[in-house]
């Protein structure tokens, strides 16, 4: 065995060009495979980073009649679930929040979560220092304690050994640190398609007890908390689901005011594991298919390369056979070499994958759940190793059989040209090229469709102008800004100062930004329209915005007016709606001047008058059509967090520094958080899609490259193999053009066969991409034509070199050879 390996190594070193191409081929294929396997492993297969994580569930609710899916729960609903259910070892509620952490130099906004005392223990990860929250700390007045992450502990507190008991100033209030969670602890996780990112979608570094106020405990409609639970031993998610439905039925019976009596309302138990990266599953499966194709292409390539070499080594093999080498021995020799090649290539591929995975993380770590956890672990390495050995054996198979059959060797030794063996092997080689072209075309079609979708998406008009717009968040602590008027005063002043900065064209703020992953809605009633208890009142998106917000966004006014400084808290309540809203509720009327009331109808309704209609904007995603939206003046409904949009032609960094100065001048303790250009924000919103586009695009590129190399190799071999024929033809009058034509027509035949088969497979398979396409048909003719021309062109170019070489051949060499 060792001798075989040494011999193989010597062979490989003796032919560096062959070895380099072979190793690169394997490296590209294995690199792609390993990267995708890492993603699949990290996002879908590997358990969440909590002990016994398959028992962790999220309990979400739905209101089917209002088209609300996967919504959070209210505190009383949580209590109902907690006290009545038995399927769970423990349930806990949590919310997303963020803290202004005071510091001498510059205050910092830090993402965090509020958790009931059960949440952290049920996750099963212990603090590395200190303790969890005690149940009594989750009561108002006692909740001035926090647990921090080891990350925060390290970079903000220099890993202070005395951290437990130390006081932090958060949101202007003092908290005592009681615990430190390990550095790799992550909770809450970002979840796909859930408006759970919080307005500040960072990784939580601070956890604070969640204590419900009495008011909160009464407000069944105020749903802003999430429930996480650990299933009791032996209980399945389905069993828990059944119990939840029983509890839902009780809730409907006991609170007839809050729930309609049909089955519209209910709770759903999801395994956390399934929810975590569920949104990436289709893309990952497609990518897995794609790398499978890449590996097949690489195998085809290596088979042809090794076959060509086996032909070149006929003499050596013949000698070995003559010396009595057995069939098995020869086979072993070939396999040793092919597996060795694939292992060397695989090692290079793993390096490639390491680099690639890091690159991917920079694309999507903010927005693709669990991407941060993705790495190359032993499981992936093991699978990669198996694939390497497997592919090594596969591509060693044909060459191995070819050289281990003594009767073939005899035939070869005679050097009889055009023997049946040679023909059969040529057929195999041709078949492999056809397969490569076909597979590459399938990949290229898929990538083409995705790229076109992505381009279409980039060109979608979101309803506002993301260019030259900067966004950031300001969150005011309750202590210093206890009431609406103080919040409004701060933000008015901040907006006035920012708007006055040089280069600023417009500045405004809102509670919710489009495409940022957050959302808020409200039910309402329309004046003069009958509302009865059994039909649910309409419910649409609601945002609180400042004057000039639309101007800063670049969203057009269609009718009426924008908000002005006059729309103060004590002014008549006004509202602006978008076109979709107007069209939905007043399809044949002018919506302007109509009145609505938030929540349900009451005896003494607080009417709000529609004063303006603005253009629609895409809120949930560039690929999702605009929905009806309502906007009320921030001054009439203030929140502690405002997200600013500043339109300016000033350099972003200079502008930002100026804005920071202005904000500090008002209140030095208030930090800017989540500073992004609007273009970056949009890029983040399509990051998961970009991830698949980039990957599939790269794989298609690799496939085309490999197919090109394959065609080059086979055509080169063909030219060598046909040296005699070409020489004779030239002697008989064939000119360069004739020879060129001869070779190119041969490769054109293979390429055409490959593209036809590839197109058939592509047409049959691109529908699997449908979910990932945007305004592009799975049978987009333009894309198919384009990729076919592209691949055909590259393939033809790859055969052009050997063809040119053939025309330069000197027939004399052939004619005078004895």
């Amino acid at each position: 065995m060792l001798k075989d390996i040494r011999f193989s190594l010597r062979q490989l070193i003796k032919q560096p060009a062959f070895t380099i191409i072979a190793v690169l081929t394997v490296a590209l294929a294995i690199g792609a495979t390993t990267a995708v396997l890492s993603l699949v492993n990290g996002l879908l297969v590997r358990p969440l980073p909590y002990p016994d994580s398959q028992r962790l569930v999220l309990l979400l609710q739905h209101f089917k009649s209002q088209n609300l899916e996967r919504i959070p729960v209210s505190p009383p609903e949580f209590k109902d679930y907690e006290t009545r259910s038995h399927s769970f070892e423990k349930l806990g509620a949590f919310g997303y929040t963020s803290f202004n952490l005071a510091a001498e130099d510059r205050p910092e906004r830090i993402a965090g979560a509020t958790v009931t005392s059960g949440v952290l223990p049920l996750l099963g990860v212990s603090p590395i220092k200190g303790r969890f929250f005690a149940p009594e700390e989750c009561m108002l007045g006692r909740d001035d304690v926090v647990i921090i992450s080891a990350r925060l502990w390290q970079h903000r507190f220099d890993s202070d050994p005395q951290i437990i008991g130390r006081k932090l100033l958060l949101n202007g209030k003092s908290f005592t640190v009681v615990g430190v969670m390990p550095a790799n602890f992550d909770f809450p996780l970002q979840l796909f398609n859930l408006g759970s990112g919080g307005q500040f979608g960072g990784r939580a570094e601070i956890w604070k007890p969640l204590a419900f106020t009495d008011d909160q405990m009464k407000a069944r409609y105020n749903r802003s908390f999430w429930i996480v639970g650990r299933l009791a031993p032996g209980i399945s998610a389905a069993q828990a689901q059944a119990e939840i439905e029983t509890i839902n039925a009780q809730m409907r019976r006991e609170h007839t005011d809050n729930y309609s009596q049909d089955n519209s309302f209910g709770g759903d138990v999801f395994l956390l594991q399934n929810l975590a990266a569920a949104g990436m599953r289709p893309a990952l499966l497609i990518l897995l298919g794609a790398v499978f194709l890449v590996v097949l292409i690489a195998c085809a390539n290596l088979t042809t390369m090794l076959l060509a070499r086996a032909a070149a080594r006929e003499r050596e093999i013949a000698i070995r056979v003559a010396l009595g080498a057995g069939r098995l021995r020869l086979l072993k020799q070939v396999f040793t070499e092919s597996v060795l090649l694939s292992l060397i290539g695989g090692a290079a591929g793993v390096l490639l994958a390491l680099w690639g995975v890091e690159l991917l993380k920079t694309i999507g770590a903010q927005t693709v759940p669990r991407l941060r956890e993705v790495n190359l672990d032993l499981v992936v390495l093991g699978v990669t190793l198996a694939i390497c050995v497997g592919t090594g054996i596969i591509f060693g198979l044909a060459p191995g059989l070819a050289s281990s059959r003594p009767e073939l060797t005899e035939a070869l030794k005679e050097g009889s040209r055009g023997s049946t063996v040679g023909k059969r092997r040529n057929r195999l080689r041709n078949g492999l090229v056809i397969a490569e072209v076909a597979l590459a075309l399938v990949l290229l079609s898929g990538a083409g469709l995705l790229i076109k979708s992505f381009a279409r998406l980039q060109n979608v008009n979101p309803g506002f102008n993301p260019r030259n717009a900067l966004t950031f968040e300001i969150s005011l602590p309750k202590m210093q800004y206890p009431d609406d008027s103080s919040i409004v005063r701060f933000n008015d002043e901040a907006r006035r100062r920012i708007a006055a900065l040089p280069g600023v064209q417009a500045a405004g703020f809102s509670t919710i930004l489009p495409l940022a992953g957050t959302n808020s809605d409200s039910s309402f009633a329309i004046e003069g329209r009958a509302s009865d208890k059994n039909t649910p009142s309409p419910d649409e998106e609601l945002r609180e915005v400042s004057p000039d917000y639309f101007r800063a966004l670049g969203t057009p006014l269609i009718k009426g007016r924008f908000f002005t400084a006059g729309d103060k808290a004590d002014a008549p309540p006004v509202i602006i709606i978008n076109q979709a809203f107007a069209k939905k509720f007043w399809p044949n009327e002018d919506a302007l001047g109509k009145r609505i009331v938030m929540g349900g109808m009451s005896d003494n309704p607080k009417w709000i008058t529609i004063v303006g209609i603005v253009g629609d904007m895409r809120h949930f995603g560039l690929d999702i059509d605009p929905k009806p939206e309502m906007y009320v003046p921030f001054a009439q409904s203030a929140y502690s967090t405002a997200i600013y949009v500043v339109r300016s032609n000033q350099d972003a960094q200079v502008l930002l520094a100026a804005i920071r100065r202005e904000i500090q001048a008002i209140d030095p303790a208030v930090p800017l958080a989540n500073v992004r250009s609007f273009e970056n924000l949009i890029a983040d919103s399509v990051a998961p899609r970009r991830l698949s586009v980039v990957l599939l695009g790269v794989f298609a590129g690799v496939a085309v490259l490999l197919a090109g190399v394959g065609i080059y190799g086979v055509m080169s071999f063909l030219v060598v193999q046909r040296t005699h024929e070409l020489g004779v033809r030239m002697a008989l009058g064939a000119q360069r053009g004739d020879v060129l034509k001869l070779v190119l027509i041969r490769s054109l035949k293979l390429i055409s066969a490959g593209t036809i088969i590839g197109l058939i497979i592509a047409v049959m398979s691109t529908h699997t991409l449908r979910a990932m396409l945007y305004s592009v048909s799975a049978f987009d003719v333009v894309t198919f034509v384009l990729v076919t021309v592209l691949l055909g062109g590259i393939a033809l170019a790859a055969s052009f070199l050997p063809a040119m070489r053939a025309t330069r051949a000197d027939p004399m060499v052939v004619l005078t050879a004895e």
């Binding site: 009889s416 040209r417 055009g418 005699h724 024929e725 004779v728 033809r729 002697a731 008989l732 009058g733 064939a734 000119q735 004739d738 027939p811 004399m812 052939v814 004619l815 005078t816």
Partner: protein
């Protein structure tokens, strides 16, 4: 028909050193001649023939074919001229194994300006003339050596060349088969074709009217 003046063929042996294969060849061959080139192995016979056949271009001197100065022609023009005027027969036949007899005969025509129907007619004529109609669908390996060379000659003359060059056409054949080919040559020569052949056999040479002796690249006598 052929006029060679001070023709030289040499191979470089590195810096400024040359190995001369042909030296100062002066030769005239008239139309209708049947010339045999003889000489020991390595004398330069094949080299001479390939120069005449315009396969080899690395020579110095003057070569005129029917008053066309070949030494002034570009490779492409030479190729055209060759296609019009010259047929070549090889010692190793050089038939294409993957093609039938019929297809082998068609090759030279496919590189000249013949229409499809002209091609078919010419191939049919030639098969007839060489009495190998029954073999037209066979592959070379299904033929005897003599039959293969028969096809080789047929292929060489199918495009109706004025000059037939043959490098040891009978070298790989039994004597009876060789005589058959030589009879064929005589017939072709009688019909007016100029023939230059390389041979080792006095018998074969006797079919021709003139013998040129080559030795170490020199013409030693006539």
């Amino acid at each position: 028909m052929i006029k060679l003046r001070r023709l030289e063929r040499r191979y470089s042996l590195g810096k400024e050193k040359f190995f001369y294969v042909l030296r100062d060849i002066n030769l005239d061959i008239a139309e209708g001649e049947f010339v045999s080139v003889m000489g020991p192995s390595g004398a330069g016979k094949s080299t001479l023939l390939h120069i005449l056949g315009m396969h080899d271009h690395g020579w110095q001197g003057e070569y005129s074919l029917n008053d066309t100065a070949i030494h002034h022609l570009k490779p492409k023009e030479r190729a055209t001229l060759r296609n019009e005027q010259i047929g070549f027969v090889f010692q190793q036949y050089h038939l294409l194994d993957d093609l039938t007899v019929y297809e082998n005969l068609e090759i030279p025509l496919s590189y000249r300006h013949y229409s499809k129907s002209e091609r078919a007619a010419l191939v049919a004529d030639t098969l007839d003339r060489f009495q190998i109609v029954g073999k037209k669908d066979l592959y070379p390996r299904q033929l005897s050596g003599g039959q293969q060379q028969l096809v080789g000659v047929a292929r060489a003359i199918i495009a109706e060349p004025k000059l037939l060059l043959a490098d040891e056409p009978t070298g790989n054949l039994h004597s009876s088969q060789g005589e058959e080919i030589m009879e064929l040559f005589r017939k072709l020569n009688d019909e007016g074709m100029t023939i230059v052949q390389v041979t080792h056999s006095d018998k074969s040479a006797s079919y021709g009217k003139r013998v040129i002796q080559l030795r170490d690249g020199w013409i030693v006598n006539e």
